[in-house]
Amino acid sequence: MRGLVHCGMVLRCPLTIETMPQVTFITFSGERHVVDAPAGISLMRAATDHGVPGIDGDCGGNCACATCHLFVEAPWAGRLSPRSDHEEDMLGLTVDPRPTSRLGCQIRLTDALDGIVVSLPEGQH
């Protein structure tokens, strides 16, 4: 799917076919939540739209609260665009930042991420 992405909202082009990459969220206690979410939205929105517990997204996708902290392991990590300075700053607010830490609002779902598996921290801070 191609679309314009702004402020967490997706403006869909009516002439493209929407695809639904699959995402697996693994909570801190080990529960797996598998969701199909439209390409173009963020991992944060994919979680909050489907009621996945453990992701809050308080700032609505502005990279401003660090309450969509999650961990992305290889091989998926290598398929993501690198962290921006701003994302680095905000990850500094989390309790347990690791090399695999990302903010879900900064990762756009694409077909290349179909099947991605991410895990969640003990709690959002």
Partner: protein, 419 residues
């Protein structure tokens, strides 16, 4: 709301929408005592969302009143500084002798290092450990409340609970806990706003006593193995163990005010909001699971810190206005939290909102409230313990509000619990 109060509100609304824009000064403390400031914010959001005022107390300053503009300023810490050397986070410019360094009034990288040192104590894993103790203490306070007589909810519940919590975090002697309340009040006192406040030198002398007390605790803890209380964490933390006394004092003030005034006023504001909206109270009683969304709605509705100040580092454009380097900028969280363009039915208190956590009360960006989860935990436990205990809490008189445009709070809320 009684008849007199609604006349006051009606008149303020008319005045706010009739007066020339250039006369609007939303930091006027009178508006906070009367709780009429919302009308001035409504006017500014509509007609002049980035607004310049000249205050007789604070001098010239900008007011940012819309949600998305506030988000833009709060997340741009490179352009809008919090640093004390430029002016800090409140509209009052502190004179040299009263400047207190603390991490909320620092820019990176110092801010980041000091903040990280205290983050673990208010992080989710530690909060889970503390929850049973907070609950036990909340139960004891509620079980000890008088019945069939009027008492001040602020003193007997809000102050008592937040002060107990703070004493727990600092591992501060419980019998002296009201000193924390006093020091919190002293720290935010401002003679220019409130004639009853201490003189500046008296204020610093009282904070000096606080430092003396806490230096004693520091010395005890530094000579003991690291423990999980805040004083021990500061004394042993690599980023904080070499702090100067002034910086120790500044960070104590930050943690005491941050952990005291804010949650205290949300505890009072929540009760008042439910009293003012009986339909919401009935909904809560019918479905106690709504406490999950009630808590963030209370925090939005109360907005216990009405604004945070930044200082423009260079000339910058915001909302079509030219803000000059060195200008004071107030991000009015209280106004952004009532902005209909960002929050549906923002003027209404609704305990079952779809996205109740999307409010500005904790700020956004690198200075976002470090204790926000603790505050929510305390509020959640309070309401979980109130609901099964008290079928009715009557608010029997008007609240008395604090004279401050910064701390949006109460000194009194008379209530009565039948039984």
């Amino acid at each position: 709301m009684n008849a007199l109060a609604s006349v006051v509100q009606q008149q303020a609304r008319e005045a706010a929408f009739a007066m020339p824009l250039e006369s609007i000064d939303p930091a006027n403390p009178d508006y906070f005592v009367e709780d009429t400031v919302g009308h001035y914010f409504a006017r500014l959001r509509r007609d002049d969302p980035v607004h310049r005022s000249v205050s007789p107390i604070f001098g010239p300053y900008w007011s940012v009143t819309r949600y998305h503009d506030i988000m833009a300023v709060d997340t741009n810490h490179a352009a809008f500084s919090s640093d004390l050397a430029r002016g800090g986070i409140v509209l009052t410019d502190q004179p040299e002798g009263e400047k207190l360094p603390m991490f909320i009034a620092m820019d990176p990288p110092r801010h980041d290092d000091q903040r990280k040192a205290i983050t673990p104590i208010v992080a989710p894993p530690n909060l889970a450990t503390m929850e049973p103790l907070i609950r036990e203490r909340t139960r004891a306070v509620l079980d000890g409340l008088p019945r069939n007589e009027t008492f001040n909810w602020v003193d007997k519940v809000s102050i008592e609970l937040t002060t107990l919590m703070l004493a727990t975090l600092f591992d501060f002697p419980l019998q002296d806990r009201r000193l924390l309340t006093w020091w919190s009040d002293v720290a935010t006192m401002n003679k220019a706003i409130n004639p009853g406040a201490l003189e500046p030198h008296e204020r610093m002398a009282e904070l000096g006593k606080m430092l003396e007390y806490f230096t004693r605790l520091w010395n005890e803890r530094i000579n003991a193995p690291p423990a999980s209380d805040l004083v021990s964490m500061l004394a042993h933390g690599p980023a904080t163990r070499n702090m100067s006394s002034l910086e120790y004092m500044g960070n104590l003030v930050l943690l005491i005010v941050g952990g005291n005034d804010t949650t205290r006023n949300s505890m009072t504001g929540g009760l008042l909001a439910l009293h003012d909206h009986p339909d919401q109270w009935a909904k809560l009683r019918a479905n106690p699971e709504l406490i999950q969304s009630l808590v963030p709605e209370i925090v939005r509705w109360q907005t216990p810190l009405a604004y945070m100040r930044r200082t423009a580092v260079a000339d910058v454009e915001l909302g079509g206005k030219r803000i000059k380097a060195g200008d004071k900028v107030a991000m009015w969280y209280l106004s952004g939290n009532r902005d209909e363009s960002a929050i549906d039915d923002a003027q209404r208190f609704i305990i079952d909102r779809a996205r109740p956590r999307q409010h500005l009360s904790f700020g956004f960006g690198i200075h976002r409230c470090v204790g926000n989860r603790l505050a929510e935990l305390q509020l959640r436990i309070l309401w979980e313990e109130i609901l099964p205990r008290f079928p009715v809490i009557e608010v029997v008189g008007a609240p008395v509000r604090v004279r401050s445009p910064f701390v949006r709070g109460f000194s009194q809320l008379p209530v009565r619990i039948p039984g």
